[in-house]
């Protein structure tokens, strides 16, 4: 796949250069060449990354537009419930005097329980104590569109209107292929870069040994694959960075923020920990955090893709080696068994001969 891609890209660039050199005067050829270059750029890493970011920004703007003026009846409802609760408490206070403590307690407790149940129901319907203008700020909408097309789906911000739901479905239909393209491209490029880095480091460290042993460059002959442990180290380092960063900002403990990073990068996205979703937090601070979280998740997805790419290769090589080893081992065992059997056979024959 990779080789094919390389080949086609080289071929394409070669052809384009050729065509520009030969038919420079023809304007149609020039336009064609420009178009080709543009398409090639769009499908390169920069183009795909820009495409993803643009798509996310577009989605954020449209979702913000759709959801911002949705009437939130839950907010009204909660206000209503609180008013009735106050009214009832007042009634209780006038009915039972200040002197009757236990009866007052009993009645007010039941009133509070009704209030609590109402609010719990409202929260399950999506109430979280904020008006929709506060929820659908631009960074939050950006985070929402990211969580849609990367299939994370935190679920702390969800569309309430009919058009928001339909728009989400359509947005996901187009966004997921774009994201997959980004994932593949980014994985390939990062894997190549990482492999190159690894191999240069490997050679640098190995050169001294080979010079010491003998002049031959022995280990380069073997095809070098990046071991899985290196990938795991990279990923765990990235997660550690995220852990420290989010832990410092959100006042989470380290377990919680590690959990958040892993759940996000695995695309599970429970949404029980989301940066900037704290109700008590100020709006200004949360916006910056959301943008940084956006960048963190997008980069992390690329890293995961890289590791997936490298580990696939590594696992393939390992499986081949393992199969070879197993084959050798089985051959050895059968050989040994036959030899052993032959020995016993000789022994038996000798014994029978002796008896004779």
């Amino acid at each position: 796949m990779e080789r094919h891609y390389n080949h086609s890209s080289i071929h394409g660039s070669y052809r384009s250069r050729d065509s520009t050199s030969t038919t420079e005067s023809d304007p149609r050829e020039k336009i064609k060449d420009c178009l080709r270059k543009f398409i090639a750029f769009m499908f390169t890493q920069v183009g795909v990354g820009a495409l993803v970011v643009c798509y996310a920004i577009l989605g954020a703007a449209s979702f913000m537009h759709i959801e911002k003026d949705s009437p939130d009846e839950q907010l009204e409802n909660v206000h209503q419930w609180r008013q009735t609760c106050v009214e009832e408490l007042w009634n209780i206070t006038t009915k039972y005097n200040v002197l009757n403590h236990s009866a007052w307690m009993l009645n007010s407790n039941s009133v509070l329980k009704v209030f609590q149940n109402n609010i719990t129901g409202a929260i399950h319907l999506g109430y979280n104590g904020r008006a929709s203008e506060d929820i659908w700020s631009f960074p939050a909408a950006l985070m929402y569109s990211l969580s849609v097309f990367t299939m994370i789906g935190y679920g702390n911000v969800v569309p309430k209107t009919v058009w928001g739901k339909i728009g989400t479905i359509a947005y996901a239909c187009f966004g997921i292929p774009i994201y997959v393209l980004y994932f593949c491209n980014m994985g390939k490029v990062l894997a190549k870069t990482f492999k190159w880095l690894y191999i240069t480091a490997h050679e640098c460290s190995r050169r001294d040994d080979t010079l010491l042993e003998d002049g031959e460059i022995q280990p380069i002959k073997r095809k070098i694959t990046v071991p899985s442990t290196a990938c795991l180290w990279v990923i765990s380092f990235y997660i550690l960075t995220g852990t420290i960063m989010f832990g410092a900002w959100e006042k989470w403990n380290y377990l919680d923020s590690t959990y958040f990073c892993v759940i996000s990068l695995c695309k599970i996205g429970f949404g029980d920990f989301v940066p900037g979703a704290n109700i008590a937090d100020s709006a200004e601070g949360s916006h910056l955090k959301l943008v940084i979280n956006f960048i963190y998740v997008l980069l992390g997805m690329g890293l995961v893709a890289m590791c997936y790419n490298l580990m696939c290769e590594d696992v393939r090589v390992k499986v081949r080696e393992l199969r070879q080893d197993l084959k050798n081992c089985l051959d050895d065992i059968t050989l040994k068994i036959t030899v052993c059997m032959n020995d016993t056979k000789y022994y038996h024959q000798k014994q029978t001969r002796n008896i004779k």
């Binding site: 007010s108 509070l112 609590q116 339909i166 429970f270 029980d272």
Partner: protein, 397 residues
């Protein structure tokens, strides 16, 4: 003696190999995924179940303390005579209490309406959402051990589920292709046979498409039917074969074409062998045909509609919400704003969780199947496009 020993060793090796093949075959993978999910359900239930009861008790204490505070600080300080001041202060106190409730519900308290949040079926759904990376988040681990185990469970479970998806998707794709081929044969649609014939021909002969377009229709069909089957038709009987194919391509809406082999048995003898060979030709061909993308998309839309109908009946959601839920689940986004068994607290909740998990497992496999088929089709289209482009370029230059 050594031969028998060797035979025993090879037999053991065969057993091991077949066991491994079975484990990595479709049935084995399905069983493995289900067993892994069940094990996860038991584990999370054991870990999280204990802390849940504590949380419910906590909330009751919170309510008591609020009432106490209202009595102490509000009712006793403001007398009965000052109504507005009293209402004002009660309102403030209730607001803070409301904030506490919101926070508690966010942390997984559900109002004490269902007895146990971490029942077996909900824990099962939870483990399924972890390994499928849906992650509804209606249930999330609260204890630190639960979080650690979730991380490791996900790291181990996701590759397993990917294996399941690729295996079962491939299997379902081959089945779907067979069914598609058979159904199209049943209806005897001439477009299908022509497409198939054209497909085969483009693989076998590099004849240009423009040539075939220029021909008249009957002639083209006749030639097509003549050209393709010659590698399996015995050369001594071309004429009945051509007659048979022409009779197939003719519009006969009420002919019993559902079972070609049955029809072949009822026909006279010289029609028997072409009918049989035609059937075997189709079953052989079933894996090499490609299913058009529109069929895959229609199939997925149908599955989502089916799901929205089921969940609409079950959960009293309207049609849009059901379709939205199915789409969000099957694309593994999983917001968790709609989760079965979340709003309606009935004794059916257990079965609803199980139905949901079954729907998800099947649906994910179907999505993988559709991707499999669509990928094939796209590659096919791409190859055709490339050939056509090359031909056009050659024509021009």
């Amino acid at each position: 003696m050594p031969r028998r020993k060797r035979r025993l060793a090879s037999r053991i090796r065969n057993y091991v190999r077949s066991l491994l093949a079975f484990l990595f075959s479709n049935v084995g993978v399905v069983v493995l995924v289900v067993a892994y999910t069940i094990a996860g359900a038991f584990m999370f239930q054991a870990i999280e179940g204990a802390s849940e009861i504590e949380r419910v008790n906590n909330m009751a204490r919170e309510r008591d303390s609020t009432a106490q505070y209202l009595w102490q600080n509000v009712t006793l300080t403001f007398n009965l005579f000052n109504e507005t001041a009293l209402k004002e202060s009660i309102n403030i106190e209730l607001k803070s209490y409301q904030g506490k409730i919101v926070k508690a519900v966010r942390r997984g308290w559900d109002g004490g309406r269902s007895s146990r949040q971490w029942s077996f079926s909900s824990a099962f759904l939870y483990s399924l959402t972890v390994i499928t990376t849906i992650g509804y988040g209606h249930l999330s681990p609260r204890t630190s051990w639960g979080k650690i185990m979730t991380v490791f469970y996900a790291l181990l479970g996701m590759p397993l589920f990917l294996l399941y998806l690729s295996n079962v998707g491939e299997l379902l794709a081959s089945w779907f292709k067979c069914i598609y081929a058979l159904v199209c044969l049943c209806r005897g649609c001439p477009g299908f046979s022509r497409r198939r014939v054209v497909h085969i021909r483009t693989i076998q002969y590099e004849t240009s498409e423009a040539e075939s377009i220029e021909r008249p229709r009957e002639w083209r069909e006749c030639i097509d039917s003549d050209v393709t089957p010659d590698y399996r038709i015995p050369p001594y009987a071309p004429d009945p074969r051509r007659a048979y194919l022409r009779s197939v391509s003719m519009p006969q809406p009420y002919s019993p074409r559902c079972r070609p082999e049955v029809r072949g048995w009822s026909e006279p003898v010289h029609h028997d062998s072409p009918a049989l060979s035609d059937f075997s030709y189709v079953t052989f061909d079933a894996q090499s045909i490609t299913v058009p993308i529109s069929v895959c998309v229609a199939f997925m839309v149908g599955y989502i509609m089916f799901g929205s109908m089921i969940f609409g009946l079950w959960e009293k959601w309207d049609q849009l919400d059901g379709a939205y839920f199915c789409f969000i689940s099957l694309s593994s986004i999983g917001f968790g704003d709609f989760v079965p068994g979340e709003r309606v607290y009935t004794p059916r909740i257990e079965t609803s969780f199980i139905v949901c998990s079954l729907y998800l497992m099947l649906g994910m496999a179907l999505v993988a199947m559709c991707f499999n088929l669509m990928q094939e089709q796209v590659i096919h289209y791409y190859a055709g496009l490339k050939r056509a482009l090359r031909r056009i370029c050659r024509c021009k230059r």
